[in-house]
C-alpha cells in the first residue's frame, strides 16, 4: 500500500472540503438574496403635477388623469435616472436615453425602462417595485 505523506493528505483534505464549503456559501447567499428581493411597496401621495416627477426609485409621468410609473433604474447597468435632456430621460452614467414611454432612444441600454404596477388608494398611490 502506498503511503500518503502528511502534506499530501492535508492538501487533498482541504481540496475536498472546498466543494461542500462552496455549496454552503452558494446556498446561504442565494437564500439571503431571495429573502431580500421581495416585492417592495411604496406609498406616496397622489398629488403629482402634470409632467415628470423624479422620485429616488421611480419616475412618475402624469398627463391629466393618466399616470405611468417607471423604475428609475437604467436597464443598462442599473444607474438611477434623475434628469431629462431634450425631451428624453437620460442616464447620468453612460448616457442611455429613453422616451417618455420608457423605450430606448439611444444606447448603450437595449431594454426599455421597467413599467411598475401601482394601485390608487384614495389620495395615495401604492407602487410595487420588484
Amino acid at each position: 500500500m502506498k503511503l500518503v505523506s502528511r502534506r499530501e493528505f492535508f492538501k487533498n483534505f482541504f481540496i475536498s472540503l472546498s466543494l461542500p464549503l462552496a455549496w454552503i456559501w452558494y446556498s446561504t447567499t442565494r437564500r439571503s438574496n431571495e429573502v431580500s428581493i421581495h416585492t417592495k411597496k411604496t406609498v406616496i401621495d397622489n398629488d403629482f403635477p402634470n409632467g415628470i416627477t423624479f422620485n429616488e426609485n421611480f419616475i412618475v409621468i402624469k398627463q391629466n388623469s393618466s399616470i405611468k410609473i417607471f423604475s428609475s433604474k437604467c436597464s443598462h447597468l442599473g444607474c438611477r435616472i434623475k434628469g431629462t435632456e431634450q425631451n428624453d430621460l437620460v442616464c447620468p452614467c453612460h448616457g442611455s436615453r429613453y422616451n417618455f414611454n420608457g423605450d430606448v432612444v439611444k444606447g448603450p441600454a437595449q431594454n426599455s425602462l421597467k413599467l411598475l404596477e401601482f394601485k390608487r388608494d384614495g389620495n395615495k398611490l401604492i407602487v410595487y417595485e420588484s
Binding site: T29, S32, L77, C79, P92, H94, P108
Partner: protein, 252 residues
C-alpha cells in the same frame, strides 16, 4: 534635439524612474492607509456615510487630515503597485515567484481594485451610489454565480455594512498577507516609509478629496475606472467586458 540623443534621454529617465523602490513605496503607502483608516473609522458612521463625512469636513479638521491621508496614501499605493507590476514584467523577474505565489499575487490585484472601489463607495455620495449600482449589475451578470458573488461582496441594497467589513478587514488582510508572502518582508524599509509619509502628508495638507452633493447631474467614477466606464459607454453587451477582464486575469 538629435533623435538618438532624445531616445537615449527617454531611456535614461525610464531607467531612473523604475530604479525607485516601487514595491517598498507601495507597501509603505499601504501601511499609512491602514493606520489612517483606523483613525478615520472613529468619526465615520456606516449608517449615514455621506452625512458623517460631511460633518467631518465641516467640524473636524483632525479627522479631515486623516481622511486625506487615507485617500492619498491609497492612491499612491494603487499607482506604485501598478508600476511595480509593470517593472517586474519589464525586467522579466516575475518568474522568480513560485506558481502558487504568482496565483495569489494575481488574485490580489482583484482585491486591490475592490479595496479601492469599496473605499470610493463608502463615501456614500451621488457618485458612490451610482458606482455601487454599476458594480452590482456587473457582478450579477457573471453566469451562474453572479448573484452569489454580488451578494457576498456588496451585500443588500442600500446597506453598506458588508462593503465596510470587506474594506476594513477582509480585503485589507488578504492584501497584507499577499504583500508579506511575496515580498518576504514584514515592514517597509524605514527610509522609504518616512519619505512616503512626508510626501503623502504634504499632499494631504494641500488637497481635500471632494464629495458629490447630488446637485450636478454629471456622475463621475474613480479615475482608475475611466477606461472601463468609457468601454461600458459604447458596449451594450456588458458580458463581453466581463469576459475580457476574466481573460486578462487568466493570461496574467
Amino acid at each position: 534635439m538629435n533623435p538618438e540623443r532624445k531616445k537615449y534621454r527617454i531611456q535614461f529617465l525610464l531607467e531612473w524612474f523604475f530604479a525607485r523602490p516601487l514595491g517598498q513605496i507601495a507597501f509603505s503607502s499601504f501601511l499609512i492607509a491602514v493606520v489612517s483608516g483606523i483613525f478615520l473609522a472613529i468619526p465615520f458612521d456606516i449608517k449615514n456615510p455621506y452625512d458623517s463625512i460631511s460633518l467631518i469636513l465641516l467640524t473636524n479638521p483632525g479627522a479631515v487630515f486623516f481622511r486625506n491621508l487615507h485617500y492619498w496614501s491609497a492612491q499612491v499605493f494603487f499607482i506604485s503597485t501598478i508600476l511595480h507590476i509593470i517593472d517586474h514584467f519589464r525586467r522579466k523577474t516575475e518568474k522568480k515567484l513560485t506558481n502558487g505565489v504568482w496565483l495569489r499575487v494575481t488574485i490580489s490585484i482583484f482585491f486591490m481594485f475592490f479595496v479601492m472601489i469599496s473605499g470610493f463607495i463608502l463615501k456614500g455620495d451621488a457618485d458612490a451610489e451610482q458606482a455601487l449600482r454599476i458594480l452590482k449589475s456587473l457582478f450579477e451578470q457573471i453566469p451562474f454565480i453572479g448573484s452569489t458573488i454580488s451578494y457576498s461582496f456588496l451585500g443588500r441594497e442600500r446597506d453598506y455594512q458588508l462593503i465596510y467589513v470587506h474594506h476594513i478587514a477582509i480585503a485589507t488582510i488578504i492584501l497584507w498577507i499577499v504583500i508579506v508572502e511575496h515580498s518576504k518582508i514584514l515592514w517597509a524599509e524605514i527610509k522609504v516609509f518616512v519619505y512616503t509619509l512626508i510626501f503623502v502628508a504634504i499632499i494631504s495638507f494641500m488637497f481635500v478629496p471632494s464629495l458629490h452633493d447630488g446637485k450636478s447631474p454629471i456622475v463621475k467614477g474613480p479615475w482608475y475606472f475611466v477606461g472601463l466606464q468609457e468601454v461600458l459607454h459604447w458596449i451594450s453587451q456588458t458580458q463581453l467586458v466581463l469576459i475580457f477582464i476574466f481573460l486578462l486575469f487568466l493570461f496574467d
